[in-house]
């Protein structure tokens, strides 16, 4: 996945160089602030050389008879953490570009982003860590490794396509390019995922203290409940207030099938109970059909939004009250500890 200089235009190359340089600078400052740089640099150096050596090992793929090698990005992130791993991969890529002509000098920005940034800062924290936090065992390690590596390689391949297309170098249509890149990298990443899983499980079996030091058992990040609440409220406001503008006026699935079958979208029911509940609903509902009472047939935009907001707020209040009632009841039923 190493890109050569010839595939880039100056603009795209410079932008990606700036992005990667920024990410590197930030990672360096992060490592320094924890005071970890002194201890980490030797291990980062040897791990970088290890990735090099590991990439030299070709394995035979059973059915196709061809050979491949691992990338090592996610493996590094799993063992070192995202910031040291990113710096290590960047250094490895720089050396590959300088001494092995594997990827251009100008394309370093793109390569560091595609193979380092995406793996360490997007795939690893969002996929690998949460799965491992559920429990450090063989199954989780395997699932986490495979999923993270597949996703990070797909993202990386996708960005190669985007960077090349934005540079205007290739006439290959977007669809065709993607159709070539993604499946190949999917196959490669599956194998790399399996191997990385194998390596991590091997380490977990032989020297469990290494993995346990990195992923201690009781460290589950509980988000502050106030933050969660605020986020939920904002989300509701956003969805009710803004998104409901786009509420479709077409009949929903049920109404549409009813129309097709019975010729009308609302059942007409007769009977005492139905009449009573119908009139009850008419009195209570202060925004019938999600609109102001006095609105005309077409419906009004703000009516919809206000309805969304009002509905959201009411639901929130109901839910909060329910939760409060339940927790109060629980507290009362718990036996008081004897002093």
């Amino acid at each position: 996945m190493h890109m050569s200089d010839a595939l880039l235009s100056p603009a795209v190359g410079l932008v990606m160089c700036a992005v990667s340089a920024g990410a590197i600078a930030y990672s360096v400052s992060k490592i320094k602030e924890d005071g970890l740089d002194e201890k980490m640099v030797p291990i980062m150096g040897v791990m970088g050389a290890f990735v090099f050596a590991a990439q030299m090992i070709n394995f035979t793929i059973p059915i196709t008879g061809s050979s491949g090698h691992i990338g090592g990005g996610v493996l590094l992130a799993a063992l070192l953490g995202e910031f040291p791993a990113f710096l290590t991969i960047s250094a490895v890529l720089i050396i590959q570009a300088l001494f092995f002509a594997d990827g251009g000098l100008f394309a370093l920005g793109c390569n560091i982003f595609n193979m380092g940034f995406l793996a360490c800062f997007i795939a690893y924290p969002l996929l690998f860590k949460p799965i491992i936090k559920k429990g450090l065992n063989r199954k989780n390690i395997a699932i986490a490794s495979i999923i993270t590596i597949v996703v990070s390689m797909q993202l990386g391949a996708f960005f190669v396509v985007i960077e090349t297309l934005f540079s205007g170098i290739t006439e290959l249509p977007f669809g065709a390019f993607v159709a070539i890149m993604q499946p190949i990298h999917f196959a490669i990443s599956l194998v790399e995922g399996l191997i990385t899983a194998g390596v991590l499980i091997f380490i977990h079996n032989m020297r469990p203290e290494i993995m346990q030091r990195i992923y201690p058992k009781n460290e589950i990040a509980i988000m502050h409940s106030k933050k969660v609440l605020i986020i939920l409220i904002l989300l509701t406001l956003f969805m009710g207030g803004f998104l409901s503008t786009f509420a479709s006026s077409y009949p929903d699935g049920l109404e549409w099938s009813m129309e097709a079958v019975a010729g009308t979208s609302e059942l007409e029911v007769k009977g005492l109970i139905h009449d009573a509940s119908q009139s009850l609903q008419d009195t209570i509902s202060f925004m019938p059909d999600y609109d102001y009472r006095s609105a005309d047939e077409g419906g009004s935009l703000t009516g919809n939004n206000v309805a969304g907001l009002a509905g959201g707020t009411l639901t929130f209040i109901l839910a909060a009250v329910t939760g409060l009632l339940i927790s109060t009841a629980k507290k009362k039923s718990k036996p008081k500890p004897k002093m």
């Binding site: 201890k39 720089i94 191997i195 899983a197």
Partner: protein, 275 residues
């Protein structure tokens, strides 16, 4: 029993080691290019690469002028031509692939040579190949005439964080050691598996894992060794070297020629003179 694929795998690893240290040997030369200040070499290389990359496929003939850069420098620095060509050959496949796809997809006619029609696809194919050649050669000439020590010190002076510099130098040094380790493990494995041509995929986990454990142990020993020798965080030492008149002249010459060739159509003039 022929050596076959097993020996090839081990040889492949060893050849990488040879490659790295071949470049290091080349840096010990004493030609004009070797004596230039590292900053000048770094800046002119980057400038040259950016100029090459900025060429559109319509201005393809400018790239032929840019060929002077690698040819002249390789001659002056006495770099073995075939060695750099080998490195270039490794990079060619992906560029060739994209070039071929352009031939397929872009069939608009670009120019006519007598009765032969050349499409934009063909033109851009050659553009990509030439650009790859020029950029790769520029980078290789840089590293074959400037030692890693000088390059690192230069980057340090340009405010690249010391951690990165330390990482690069450490990885560079340890590649050899770890490749040797890998080669030993691979030989042992292949000697114990008569019918295998490579490592079975089911064994990759423990093979690479074993290598990883040994690397981790080695890293700890390295850390303690560095501490014993007074290591207190990433530091790099540098010997100051000032710019002289040759450096300035080289820089001005290369940058101005690159700019002139980019925007003045000398090749067209030459062609018109011939015809």
């Amino acid at each position: 029993m022929f050596p076959g694929k097993k020996a090839l795998q081990i040889a492949n690893i060893k050849s990488k080691i040879v490659d790295i240290y071949m470049l290091e040997q080349l840096c010990n030369g004493n030609t004009f290019v070797h004596r230039l200040h590292p900053m000048v070499k770094l800046l002119t290389t980057v400038f040259f690469i950016i100029m090459v990359v900025s060429v559109n496929r319509e201005d393809f003939r400018i790239l032929t002028l840019y060929l002077f850069y690698p040819f002249v420098l390789m001659a002056v620095s006495e770099t073995p031509y075939h060695y750099l060509l080998k490195q270039f050959a490794l990079v060619l496949p992906l560029s060739a692939l994209l070039g071929f796809s352009n031939i397929i997809f872009d069939t608009e006619t670009a120019l006519l040579i007598g009765p032969i029609e050349l499409s934009y696809g063909v033109v851009s194919f050659f553009t990509i190949i030439l650009k790859t050649y020029l950029t790769v050669m520029a980078a290789l000439i840089l590293v074959s005439t400037t030692s890693l020590q000088d390059l690192s010190n230069q980057m340090l002076r340009m405010r690249v964080p010391a951690i990165i510099i330390m990482l690069i130098t450490m990885i560079y040094r340890y590649i050899d050691i770890l490749l040797n380790e890998t080669s030993i493990m691979l030989t042992a494995y292949l000697l114990r598996s008569p019918r295998e041509k490579g490592i079975k995929i089911s064994h990759m986990g423990s093979f690479v894992g074993q290598l990883l454990l040994r690397s981790i142990d080695r890293a700890e020993r390295v850390y303690f060794a560095m501490k014993c020798r007074g290591y207190q965080g990433a530091v790099s030492y540098d010997s100051k070297r000032s710019l002289n008149i040759a450096d300035y002249m080289y820089c001005v010459l290369v940058c101005s020629l690159a700019l002139i060739f980019r925007f003045v159509d000398f090749v067209g003039l030459l062609g018109n003179m011939l015809i």
